[in-house]
Symmetry: C2
C-alpha cells in the first residue's frame, strides 16, 4: 500500500517574518515539510518577492503568486486549490482571526502567527468556533509561538520541572527593547499605527509570556501591572511593569519595554528570565540567535545552549499534526496562546489592581 501523494501548503503574508524566518525554516525542514505551492499577499509585489525568495532558498518551482490586485485571484482562489491542505498565516494581527476562519471553512489546516487574536474576547470566540465547527472534522489549528517551542526553552522547562533548582519560589522576566523609527519592524505600516491594544507589547510581549508559560511548572494566575507610553510613536503603550503569581506557589516580576532609550543595555538585561528555586536558580538569556541558560545550585552548574530553531520546530510539528501522525508534541495550543494574550491585556488594563487571569480565560482547558 502506498501513501497518498503528500499535499502542499501555502503562506499567507509576505512580510519581514515570512521572508526572514519562514523561508529558512522551511529550507531547514527539507523533506519533512510538504511542498510550498503558493503564496498570498495583498500586494503583487510582496507576494512575488516572497515567491522568488522561496525559489532561491528551497530550489523549488516558483510557488504560485496570489494577491488582491488585478488577476491576482485573491484569498478565495488560493483557498480553493485542492493540492493545498495547509496554510501558514503571517498576516497583520487584526486580519488574522477572519482569515483563520476562512481557511478552516475551506477545509485547510491552519498555523496562524501569534498573537492568537488581537484581544481575549476575539480569541475566545475563535477557539469556540474552531471547537464547534472545525475540530471535529479533523482540521488542525495551531498558533505559531516560536518562543514556546525553542529547544533551549523547552529543555530548561524540563530541567526545572524535574527539580534541577528545587521547588520554584520566584521568577522574573526582563525584556528591554530599543525601537527607533528606522526599525524595519516599526516601518511595517500596520505596526507604525497599530489597530490593536498594546502595539509591540502585544506583538512581541506574548513571546515573553510564552517563555514563562514553558519555564514555570505552575501557570501564572494573577497579576498587577502598570502600563505606560514613553515614546509617542509607539502608542498606545510601550512599557509594562508587572508582578504576577502562580496561585499560592510563587510570585515574580515582569518588566517589558519597547521604549528603551539606547541600543546598549544594563548588565541586568542579560538575563531575559530568572527562575529561582529552593535549591538554585536558572538564568536564561535569549540573544544572538541562541538560548543560553545556566542552572546553578551550590553543588552543580548545568549549562544549556541551543541555537534558536523555534520556527522550524513549530512548522515541523504542525505539518506532522496535519498529516495525522501519532505522538506529535502538543505545541501551539490556541488556549496557551490565548493565555499569553490575556496576560498582556490584563497588564495593559490593571493600573495597579489585582487581576485574576482565570476570570479572563474561563473554562477553556
Amino acid at each position: 500500500m502506498t501513501q497518498p501523494a503528500r499535499q502542499g501548503f501555502a503562506i499567507f503574508g509576505a512580510g519581514i517574518f515570512a521572508t526572514e524566518a519562514y523561508i529558512p525554516a522551511i529550507a531547514a525542514l527539507g523533506k519533512a515539510a510538504p511542498p510550498l505551492k503558493a503564496v498570498y499577499s495583498r500586494s503583487f509585489k510582496s507576494a512575488e518577492s516572497l515567491s522568488t525568495a522561496a525559489v532561491k532558498a528551497l530550489s523549488i518551482p516558483a510557488p504560485d503568486v496570489y494577491h488582491d490586485g488585478e488577476n491576482g485571484g485573491g484569498v478565495d482562489a488560493i483557498l480553493a486549490r485542492q493540492d493545498i491542505s495547509s496554510v501558514l498565516l503571517a498576516l497583520p494581527i487584526p486580519l488574522q482571526p477572519s482569515m483563520i476562519l476562512k481557511a478552516l471553512k475551506a477545509g485547510k489546516h491552519v498555523l496562524s502567527e501569534k498573537p492568537v487574536a488581537p484581544d481575549v474576547a476575539s480569541g475566545i470566540a475563535l477557539i469556540e468556533q474552531y471547537r464547534s465547527e472545525f475540530q471535529g472534522k479533523g482540521l488542525v489549528w495551531r498558533v505559531a509561538e516560536n518562543f514556546e517551542v525553542e529547544p533551549g526553552i523547552q529543555e530548561v522547562g524540563r530541567l526545572i520541572s524535574d527539580g534541577a533548582i528545587g521547588k520554584v519560589i520566584g521568577f522574573k522576566a526582563c525584556v528591554l527593547n530599543y525601537v527607533d523609527k528606522d526599525s524595519k519592524w516599526y516601518k511595517t505600516p500596520w505596526r507604525t499605527v497599530p489597530q490593536y491594544q498594546g502595539g509591540f507589547l502585544l506583538d512581541g510581549g506574548v513571546h515573553t509570556i510564552a517563555v514563562l508559560r514553558v519555564l514555570l511548572p505552575q501557570p501564572i494566575t494573577h497579576l498587577s501591572s502598570f502600563a505606560s507610553l514613553n515614546k509617542d510613536y509607539l502608542a498606545p503603550h510601550d512599557t509594562i511593569h508587572a508582578i504576577a503569581k502562580a496561585s499560592e506557589h510563587y510570585n515574580g516580576t515582569i518588566e517589558m519595554t519597547f521604549a528603551f532609550p539606547t541600543t546598549s543595555k544594563p548588565v541586568s538585561a542579560k538575563d531575559a528570565c530568572v527562575v529561582t528555586g529552593t535549591e538554585g536558580y536558572a538564568a536564561i538569556s535569549i540573544e544572538g540567535g541562541f538560548v543560553k541558560a545556566v542552572l546553578t545550585t551550590e553543588k552543580k552548574e548545568t549549562i544549556v545552549e541551543e541555537r534558536m530553531t523555534g520556527v522550524q520546530v513549530e512548522f515541523g510539528s504542525f505539518f506532522d499534526a496535519a498529516d495525522g501522525k501519532q505522538g506529535v508534541e502538543p505545541f501551539g495550543s490556541p488556549v496557551g496562546a490565548l493565555k499569553d494574550v490575556a496576560f498582556i491585556e490584563a497588564a495593559l488594563n490593571s493600573d495597579g489592581a489585582l487581576v485574576d487571569l482565570g476570570l479572563l480565560v474561563p473554562g477553556l482547558e
Copy 2:
C-alpha cells in the same frame, strides 16, 4: 571668645553594626566627632567589648560602660550625664522608639538606626511627639540610614536630577540576599525570631527603598506587591515582588529577597538598581564596599565609583547638626525614613492590591 568645650556622645547598643561599622566610622571622622564618653548595652559583656574595641580603634580613654546588670547604672544613669549631649542608638528594632523618646526627654540629641520604627503607626506617633515636645527645644533627632547618604548614591541622584539620562521613565531595584542559619546577622537573637513585621525585609529592605528615594526625582506614591515566605526560619516574610509608581511620572519593579537559595547570584543581580530615562540609563551596583554606577546615553558614558562611607557621613552630619552648625545637609529626616517603612509595610500587606502610600503617611511633610 573661645568655643565652649565640645560635649561628648554615647553609643546605645553593642551589636555587630556598632562594633563593625560605628567604631570605624568614628575613627574615620577623627576630630570631626566629639569624644565617645560611654557605651550602653543590656549586657555587661557586650558593652565592655564595645568599649574595648573603641579604645583600640580610637586611641581614647576607655568609654564608661553602662548595662542593665548589677551596678551597671543602666539607661537612666548614662542619660543623666551632663557631659554627654548626643546619643547614637543601635538597639534592636522594637526597643528603639521608647529609647528615642527617653533620650530626647533627657535633653539629648539622637541619631537612631533605621528603621525609624517597627511600623508606620509608631513612626508617625514618634515624629509627632518629637515635633510637639522636643524639636522646639533645639533637640536634633535624625534617623541613621547610611544608604541614603552614601556619596555614590547621592552623586548618581544628583546626576539624574540634573538630566544626565533625560527625563526618568522607569526604574527597578533587585536585591537578592542569601541568609543561612549561620549568618552572623541571623544569629542575633532579636533577628532570629523578629518581633516586628517583615523580618529582614524591614531591617534591610528599607535601605533599598532609601536608595530609590535618593535616585528618583519624584517620590514613589503607589505600589502593588506580593510578599512571601520561602525559608521557614526567616518568618514572617522573606521576599517581596512589587511594582511601584511615582504618581503619573514613571513606574518600576522592586524584587527583594533574603531567601535566595545560593551564595552565587545571576548576572542580572549585579545591578542593584537601574533608573531609565528618555536619553539613557543609570545602572548602580552596591557591593564589596563600593557604589559603582554607569550612566549611559548614546553619546556618553559617565562612571561613578565611590567607596561606601555612609555611616561616617551620617555621623559627621548629625554631629554638625547637633552642634548647631549652619548649612548642614538635611540627611536622616525621620519623615524620609518613615516613607521607607511605609513602603515595606505596604508591600507586605498589599497582596496585589494598589496601595496609596500618601494615605499611609499623611500630612507629615
